[in-house]
Subunit: 338 residues, 4 copies
């Protein structure tokens, strides 16, 4: 940590800061510059809120130096993590993992139509929500356990790994019983109790970035899961809130090289949530793979016009098959397969 | 809802949309413009996802007309709500309610020092976190129930209403036992299960806006609480995420007149979280009252330099007393008291 | 400047950075921390792009320490600047300056109606655009010099100082001939050639913040004007672009205490552009004064429904008179007058 | 345009709005819904500010239906535009155009080293700034005409088309004399006088999106150029301002399919400005081509550590050669060449 003093500070102001640094068990190092004095605090005190030093007299600001995450960081583990989904497939490594399916599980016909289609086109996982986080309390909230049972049936018919959302700590055991991967949605990335509960299961966790979370907060959310003993975290970018109105969310693909630099965890892109419009999904899927994404999470619905949720961003099985052809060509161009 | 067709659409495209609208039990109304045809769908189908119509052939976009919230809306209830805190004080109405105290409950000395000081200066409520949502899993997570007991002690000594955060559904009963107001933090505004659980208690809920939530999402979160039977929701604005870096959050005070127009619920401003810097808190407190806020939520710590959390934005008891003097002058200027 | 090295860097990496720092004529200071090594570069080299050091081997990032602005900064000039408008009034100091009038000069009747009304209510300046920056090339572009002549006429009839926008370097002399204050709009805050041209006139400049400019960029734009010899810069905040859709722009009033801390220049708030809705203007005007603003810039139109530009955010003369009454009460509460 | 009335409006409120619509020469169409009445105004009145109707009694809001741009729109011209650069190369069409070179022209050695290297690797254009828009008035402002002469020399030695920025109307003739493409930078996207001046030349214009401009504003800026008679506009996305801090700008590649849908103009991506970090440039270059971009604009410097501007995001000639190999593989995968 670096404490930047205000210009014109007195020696006693600097001494006061030095005293506080020593109180914390850190080593101080004062540098008197031309215009400003800065005090470096040496030592690792992650867990202590050093921003409070901003309230000391004549302190201008605090600059943290160390990244706050540990087990999620590339510094601690150099080789990329590969997360096994339990059905013989995995996320991370040379193969690009594609997980597809409807936003919500609506009924058996819809789900199996989607599942068999995405399986045939090359997906390794089936997505589909049984518990749905809905902005509006009057909207369809999902089928609950009945939806989980349909997902299990789809797995037994197709062999696809099941990825489905868990919204609340009291659903964790139930969802873990049926799912291969627990999805934690963007609205719950900062639901720390849920992160901890998911970290205590033995199921891989697909963690979606909060729509205004920083990269650091995203990796700290992963750290919550991992510090409970569950190392199997798959990161998922699904777009952020910005001023842009031609998309539902702005999809920042530069997070792919950033994550690769900062962390060993795999990163998957959701181009459906990440744009909000079906017509943009193929282009952004290709772009994600070209940028180095480890996988895609795509909304596919047999009849988007009648989808109960997210129809506007759902593609059809036919559209998905075309997309997979394009995706394979891009994967080959970057030395990967699907 | 208005369906805007693409230019050059054929009659069968319009007919197809009309068919879908009738399928939903709505009445259609086609308007052929100079360049574009639009189809209005008349009737109230809140709860049906009509955005799926965007996937119909030659549809350009969907424009919703009705606001999706009901019981939180000013249309349904014209007079402003006044929420009683149970200790004789209330939020809403002519008096501006000030709730102050430390970010975290750290120990009895700290808490009582803060409580007696804010009481003396005119606060009606004591804020203080026993369960702390922390971005970093290695940071101080709060004292838990021990903290709640200290808050209850502070209440019995000062008469202040206790406002404290509940982070998870399994904490709701416990926190409701000790607190006068359940606070739901910005990170949990979209934790719908928690909103529902809080809606099933009989305690007032202070609901903080998510840092990138829209106004509509904010009121729909209130609607989640209210539709469970608990009408006592106090809205709290605590700043949003933007590109600005001289503040920790950007505090958009225009939400005050917007809420007053859209809803009957009281709106409180948190200038501490809303800026991140103690030196800005007095100016933004004055501004909030001048703009018509029904209350303030302010972080006060007897020793900010040593605060375990949020020291940078905490003011001292002395600073708070000065702030209250200024706040009273502004309140008087807008015809209110504190 | 602080250079933060990557973890695991070798001694030669540090030596290389030290060499580059010395090449620039700066003094180096190496601090070996527990996990990271940082290199401080001491000395003032504003004008040299030191971010290029980020490309040196094993450098993680660069942290600037010094603020890049000089003559606009509070460090260089401690006392607040008061800018004289030439008609006996000024901006800065104890009096809150109110400048009001229509968005565009449309015709003599409209302009004089607005001017006499705002004068009667206590404004010291008349705003009104003769050259209009319009997003759409087919929209009304302003009356040009004919509009300037009408503004001059309004000044001679009312004594109000004229504040009007200059959009381009070839308009500077012409506008300076008629106006008392040259306004540089939000879209031109980064039009450096225009800033330089305005800096070579002897007229005060009202500089609006770019809608996504940082505080630092805002003050550096002022520095462009001032470094040409014109010290009379009035800063104006008019709202920023965010994800919020219930306003046209988000008005971040915390910039007022931030500017007061960083700079000696006066800061004026535009609640009309800053919200986009007439019904929000009174609340945000009161809030701005309560937060310490040195003035207000308000759109007033005798007939907003028929305004050629910005009608949605224009208030009527009657509304303005009421607003001024409220504003005076707030000003008195913070020890100022209008 | 659709006028949405407030709930509870009276018949005379609707009649008043109808009257205003007729005053504008438009046809009205009233739809009485279950909860709300809306009034559609039929006819094309681009150029009239109809948002002023928001100020009419009991009007809730105004919803525009027609896109405000014409000649830039896909509705008016169905086939994609191909812009010739004059040296036999072009932007748009099947070939992906790569334009590369240093941020600033610093001296002959630097420029020719960059030019020959990017030519050898397959670029068709040379970028390099002679006039530099710098946030800080004390920073290097470019070599001016001397820089233009060096660019002309580089063209005569390599055959590359010269793309260089024009910042101000008084530079247009000079820059047009030397350059093959006039670049208008992000800070000047709303400098309408400059857009008009560029529209009066016969040189292609590379128009960069303003860092917080909407898609509509971006196309309207193109419309400014085109409505002066110059149809040769190349759009360039270079990243937007968001809350993200791991990048200098957030690069929203979904603008590529959006532009392809809305406009016939080619779209080029700048991954250097669009991220701010050299290490991200290859990944985002690949992603841009995969998403359908018509070209790339890349900063290449022979010695980034010593670059006078933008070193942190500049890649070396060696890095550029590698990038071009990857880019060709992606282009082939989407059926294009470079």
């Amino acid at each position: 940590m670096i404490v930047v003093m205000q210009s014109g500070c007195a020696k006693e102001d600097v001494d006061h800061v030095v005293g506080l640094i020593r109180e914390l068990g850190l080593t101080d190092h004062v540098i008197v510059g031309t215009d400003r004095t800065v005090v470096a605090a040496i030592g690792d005190k992650r867990g202590v809120d050093m921003s409070s030093l901003e309230r000391s007299p004549m302190v201008d600001r605090i600059v943290p130096i160390l990244a706050p995450y540990k087990v999620a960081s590339r510094e601690v583990k150099k080789e990329a993590s590969v997360i096994s989904l339990g059905n013989g497939s995995s996320v991370g490594g040379d193969k690009v993992a594609v997980i597809a399916g409807p936003c919500s599980v609506e009924n058996e016909t819809q789900l199996l139509a989607a599942a068999t289609a995405v399986k045939a086109a090359g997906a390794i996982g089936l997505r589909g929500g049984a518990f749905k986080p809905r902005t509006n309390p009057y909207d369809f909230q999902g089928l609950g356990e009945a939806g989980l049972k349909l997902l299990a049936k789809a797995r037994s018919e197709t062999g696809l790994a099941i990825v489905t959302e868990v919204m609340s700590i009291d659903q964790v055991d139930l969802v873990a019983e049926y799912a291969d991967v627990l999805q934690i949605g963007t609205r719950n990335m900062h639901n720390f109790n849920l992160l901890i509960a998911a970290g205590r299961t033995k199921k891989p966790v697909m963690l979606k970035r909060g729509w205004s979370a920083t990269l650091q907060e995203f990796l700290l959310a992963a750290e919550y899961v991992m510090s409970e003993g569950n190392q199997d975290v798959i990161l998922c970018e699904r777009g952020i809130r910005t001023h842009e109105s031609y998309v539902r969310n702005t999809l920042p693909l530069a997070i792919i090289p950033a994550i690769k630099r900062e962390s060993h965890l795999p990163i998957v892109i959701d181009p459906s949530q990440g744009t909000g419009h079906a017509y943009m999904v193929p282009a952004m899927s290709r772009a994600a793979i070209a940028a180095g994404a480890d996988g895609l999470l795509i909304e596919v619905h047999p009849d988007p016009e009648h989808a109960m949720t997210d129809g506007a961003q759902s593609i059809t099985p036919k559209g998905f098959t075309e997309l997979m052809g394009e995706a394979r060509a891009i994967a080959a161009a970057v030395g990967r397969t699907i």
